[in-house]
Symmetry: C2
Subunit: 373 residues, 2 copies
């Protein structure tokens, strides 16, 4: 769907909102679009429940006076950031909300728990009917703490968690959640490297809530395939040069491939390797994680791609269903449907940064490197 | 839906299958049902794609000559057993297959890997279009081994796993799976006991592929709530009396509640406690796991109830979608949709076997009991 089509349709809705019922022929002249195009737009918008049409006229749904017709629900969405990873999660959520005739109100927590609380309070005060939220987890474990879980289950509206799988044991395990399985994503990357013939690899990761899952998947895959991991390196902006040196040491020690979480760090690695005269992929293969802009790197980088739009889309669909259930069956233990934890398995997009390992003549270092820091 | 309605509808389909096109009025007289009832049945069956209707007549879909009308796909299903837990999983799968106009062919592995291979080969030889399978896992870990995972991903038809979550690292992590989260199920039970005021509890479990998950959930919940676990007991038919004695020792040591996996074992525990004069729930609370027949115990037992029908139903729906995708987009890496791991969160059905703990006057044993065996 091109942007201009959606803009044209938004224009139609704006006119209806401002001025009420319109004659279709007059509207087509006024907006400067052909009547065929306008009729097709009107059909689409009517199918989405965004306007009503009768013979020759269209009117906004708000004035229809039928309950539940449109602006069906107001949905709140609270995420840590609106850019990078979450930009397409938001796109998916917006599309699903529009398709369900709901509006979406966004709050950004900036990975800060106090801000998160404020954002949720603000949305609840605005009267949202339900909430999609990626709560701020502990950075080390990737998990939500006990207090936060208790808070989430005590909220007065249906809640769907995104990108935050809740480990068993915690109170929030009863909530619906939709997440990317970063552990399986990392597994895919390691299997790809093993299929190419790599037997000595390493992992470099940022310090963030998802890194724990990526590293866990990396370690499980290495163990299950019986190949050698030369170590895992955690990036921190405080010791950037140490990390660069560590990566070059691993190459010297015989690492032929790296899995790098995330795209930003992978681009840095690519530059460091290039500066040091280490060719990608002739000498070292590189796989990135997230696939936000891996495709446009100097050497297009093979990347694990979580289904970011689908996460946003499915979370909103689930939430709309839950709100409907909450309205029709008040109280706990009613019929309803099963709460579920859904993990979407990322894809692997193979590009130029991965190849079979070079057969090196020279003696390779034997020691297994330890993790840094 | 009452059984008789479905039987009546099956009767209609049987006549059409044997004798071809029928006049609706004649058919209603012949089957001895009112024409209103018959017309309603015909509408339902037509909506399900199981017959065609025109003015006053109905005809079987098989003679319609339109491809893809009915017996849309043949689905294979391989599970360890057809009774107890899986009986309702099968019911859910059958209902979903019927609704999708597909037929379902069942194979039972009896928790034996060689039999499982044979059953799958047999189904593939019969030309099934896809497979729902609960593969036989390692009993200790509840996990599928590497060879088995490789076999599953190499099958020539789409595969959906049920009740077997694949840990990250393994090759089968890329397959769709739909499972009950037994770890979160156990968590629910522990939270319920904690809310009633229990602070010293224990867990008794059979030795089976799901027990690992139940025990993991039990341990996480106890740790997260900061209450005391007096121990976990693994049941084996070989030392049944040892297990009984161990449970009574735990009661003496001050355990006020037990989570018991599964229903069969919970009924045994109830009898052992009754024989020893330990009142349920006055002295000890009991929660069962599975909820197959916990409701009809001498003291109706509070139980964790996995959504067994929903697992079967959703697996078939997912498989039908996958077969459709495989037909429309051949080859890997095509558009398709995200593979997903879906975990359905069980419910807790509260009955008479759980109550607040009695305030005991006497001195309680202080030592924390160790696990047996």
């Amino acid at each position: 769907m091109s942007r201009s089509v959606e803009e044209r349709r938004r224009g139609i809705l704006d006119v209806l909102k401002r001025e009420g019922e319109q004659n279709v022929r007059e509207l087509s002249e006024r907006l400067g679009v052909s009547s065929v195009t306008l009729r097709r737009d009107v059909e689409t918008l009517a199918a989405r429940g965004l306007l009503h049409r009768t013979h020759g006229t269209v009117r906004p749904v708000q004035t229809a006076g039928r309950a539940g017709a449109v602006e069906k629900y107001v949905l709140g969405m609270v995420i840590p950031a609106g850019d990078y990873y979450y930009e397409r999660v938001i796109e998916g959520a917006k599309a699903a909300a529009a398709a369900a005739g709901c509006s979406l109100v966004l709050g950004i927590s900036g990975y800060d728990k106090a801000t998160e609380l404020q954002q949720v309070d603000r949305l609840l005060a605005k009267g949202v009917d339900g909430l999609v939220i990626a709560p701020t987890p502990e950075f080390d474990s990737g998990q939500l703490d006990a207090e936060q879980q208790q808070w989430l289950v005590s909220l007065s509206v249906p809640v769907v968690l995104i990108e935050r799988p809740v480990a068993s044991g915690g109170a929030a395990g009863v909530l619906d959640s939709i997440s990317s399985s970063h552990a399986v994503g990392a597994t895919l990357a390691v299997h790809h490297l093993a299929e190419l013939g790599h037997t000595r690899i390493a992992c470099v990761a940022i310090t963030g809530p998802n890194s724990t899952h990526v590293l866990a998947g990396y370690r499980s895959a290495v163990a299950s395939l019986g190949i050698e991991s030369l170590g895992t390196v955690r990036f921190s902006a405080d010791h950037e040069e140490t990390v660069r040196d560590r990566i070059l040491e691993l190459v010297e020690a015989g690492a032929t491939a790296f899995l790098v979480h995330n795209d930003v760090l992978a681009l840095r690695c690519l530059a460091w390797l290039d500066d040091a005269g280490v060719d990608v992929p002739a000498r070292v293969s590189l796989i990135s994680y997230d696939d936000v802009f891996a495709a446009v790197a100097a050497v297009p980088i093979t990347a694990v791609a979580p289904w970011r739009e689908a996460v946003g889309q499915q979370a909103v669909q689930r939430l709309v269903g839950r709100i409907g259930e909450a309205i029709s069956v008040r109280g706990r233990g009613g019929p309803g449907s099963a709460a579920e934890h859904r993990e979407l398995i990322p894809r692997l997009h193979v590009r130029q940064s991965t190849a079979a390992p070079a057969k090196l003549d020279r003696h390779l270092g034997e020691g297994t490197a330890d993790a840094v820091p």
